[in-house]
Amino acid sequence: MDLSFTPSEREFRAEVRAWLAANVPPEPLPSFDTAEGFRRHQDWEALLADAGWSVITWPTEYGGRDASLMEWLVFEEEYYRAGAPARVSQNGIFLLAPSLLEFGTEEQKRRFLPPMGRGEEIWAQGWSEPEAGSDLANIRSRAERVTGGWRLTGQKIWSSRAAFGHWLFGIFRTDPDSRRHRGLTYFLVPLDAPGVTVRGIPQLDGLPGFAEVFFDDVFVPDDQVLGEVGRGWYVAMSTTGSERGLTLRSPGRFLATADRLAALVSDLGDGAAPTLRDRAAQAWIDADAYRLYTFHTESRMRAGAQIGAESSANKIFWSELDRALHRIALDLLGTRGTLTAQAPDAAEYGRWLDGFLFALAGPIYGGTNEIQRNIIAERVLGLPKEA
């Protein structure tokens, strides 16, 4: 056991930190769920990409720097520590890219990865449907074989980034007689293709953080199928059990929040109720624990272990941690904690409310925590399936 970073990891961290200190915008960008904010976030992605920080774990030929998982974890810590902008390219670089790298043809990789990494093409995800929320296998959107490609019909929902984005990845039923996980195929679809309609869904804050996407006889050529026809479920899920479980929410995000929370308690001094001080300490411990668990998993992966239910345990842990961190902050701030970022009195505190609202969704998306608990109980502990 040697819990120190290597000299090269330390150098790497110093380099990241220096670049971010010089380049992170002093004022927060407008939300990427607005037209202007979307553009400004794309500009930021371009700046990141120019400096080689956009997609560090990718092969250099597609715009990455072949960074190790540990370097990526370090990068993420520094990124959140610096308060850098949220990644508008997130769906593409974290969810699609691993599948593209594993299952894509060389042409597909060359076509799609570089503009994704530079933030020129922003990807929306197309998993959920109105009747397939947590139960993803219940997909009804279908694709019919036609000359040179497929015709897509149906509807996707909860597509983040679709309101202003350029492409969508998602799975469609190509075998009309198939059920559940079989007979699905993974498609890459331009959102400006004829027959595609995008309708933004306003969230609590009124901004279209999600969209519905309607497909009305949308032609998609064969070279926009990712992986084998009929194996879309496998393509979509194969990366969730590997690094994705580890990379969906890196510890850096929660470490930065935990440190801000500890500072908030310190700053409030006697104005912080002792119980909140205690709850803040527990949340800080938990953020630290999440980091240690991640490093431990990284060590095991380097030693050749496969990641299984760790991603379910991770999901439960970080989503509850995130909710706790923000709830404690709001409890510390009293009525002031309910102000939006626009309120003059909110000052730097407005971010806690936004974070709270976002954190409340944590136990829901990416597979509800109830589903994750079932996975742990059945696949790790070996308890019987429900009758």
Binding site: G133, Q203, F210, T275, T335, T338, Q342, A343, P344, D345
Partner: protein, 349 residues
């Protein structure tokens, strides 16, 4: 011992609920972007909502908090946008000040103001001693404000309001600046301290009652959604995890309700335990409502996050009111101090 409300109290709440079913549907709530609909407020006043706690000589019904609790719970169940907590608290405080001031002649302008408030023609609001912001100040004719241990009535036109938008947009919040000569003194010294205590307790009590209604409705909406929504081939409400979450939220609300009622009785009867009883009630109601909100979001999933779903009308009320008038932490601290530092463990009843 009788833990029940009178027929009149039930009837009043039923009348309020009936009015809100017609005039405060989710569509109406959405349409009330400013947070105040004069027509609806006037209708509510017509059936007595604004005058229950106003003394009879000033055009009110001379009732007490117990006459209001069930009706305010109905307001919460409808997510009523109008500031029923603050306006009632303000009117009651001004009425009490007038009553004690009556011995010295009172203040003629205030009598007119109070009578207009009772009629629903003028809105009053008040600053909560726990909070730096005044709710609905933009809609109010006058504000009850505390400064350096004294209470004043301040004309809205004599005050400078800075909007402080919050998670519950229709519940408009403001920081208020005003010159002392713009306000009329209504209490100072011991009377002002008593008014501060009464204002805090009444605001906490009524926001607790409102939260019970909002929490009840959140559970009802979630139950209804869970019955209809099919996932993995069955209604999600048939899954134990969903059932148990909802059952726990239900239990929390059911056990908070008698605490709110008892707090109303303590206030009304001037019990020695009133501060502690109000704080227990607000702490429990805030926690139960927060729990109901979290469960409702979890049951609804992504749709609960959208503007299209009605759920957010109640969620935002809960997030705002569970923290206004002292959050659960603050009130639990007041209970601890009474119970442990002062060893006041006597109970009412």
């Amino acid at each position: 011992m009788d833990f029940s409300f009178t027929v009149e109290q039930h009837d009043f709440a039923a009348a309020v609920a009936e009015l809100l079913r017609t005039h405060c549907t989710p569509e109406h709530v959405r349409a009330t972007k400013s947070g105040f609909d004069r027509d609806r407020w006037k209708r509510l006043a017509d059936i007595g909502m604004a005058s229950v706690c106003v003394p009879e000589p000033h055009g009110g019904l001379g009732g007490d908090d117990l006459d209001l609790l069930l009706a305010v719970e109905e307001c919460g169940s409808a997510a009523l946008p109008e500031p029923v907590v603050e306006s009632t608290t303000a009117a009651t405080a001004l009425g009490a000040a007038m009553e004690s001031g009556a011995r010295d002649g009172g203040h003629a302008d205030h009598a007119v103001l109070l009578a207009r408030a009772a009629e629903g023609d003028a809105l009053l609001t008040v600053s909560a001693p726990t909070d730096p912001y005044v709710a609905a100040a933009d809609h109010a004719a006058a504000l009850l404000l505390e400064r350096e241990g004294a209470w004043y009535v301040v004309d809205r036109d004599r005050a400078a309001l800075t909007p402080q938008p919050s998670v519950d947009a229709p519940r408009t919040l403001f920081t208020v600046e005003w010159d002392s000569d713009g306000g009329t003194l209504i209490a100072r010294g011991e009377a002002a301290r008593a008014m501060s205590a009464a204002v805090l307790n009444r605001g906490a009590l009524l926001s607790g009652a409102y939260l019970l209604g909002a929490a009840r409705r959140l559970i009802e909406m979630s139950v209804s959604y869970a019955k209809d929504r099919i996932q993995f081939g069955r209604p999600i409400g048939s899954f134990q995890a969903v059932k148990h979450h909802l059952a726990d939220a239900f239990v929390a609300v059911e056990f908070a309700r008698p605490q709110v009622w008892r707090a109303g009785y303590s206030l009304t009867s001037g019990a020695a335990t009133a501060d502690r009883d109000v704080s227990a009630a607000k702490a429990s109601a805030s926690a139960a409502a927060e729990r109901a909100a979290a469960v409702a979001l979890q049951v609804h999933g992504a749709i609960g996050y959208t503007h299209e779903s009605d759920l957010h009308l109640w969620l935002t009320k809960v997030w705002a009111l569970s923290r206004a008038w002292g959050n659960a932490e603050w009130h639990r601290g007041r209970v601890a101090s009474s119970l442990i530092d002062q060893r006041l463990t006597a109970r009412l009843p």
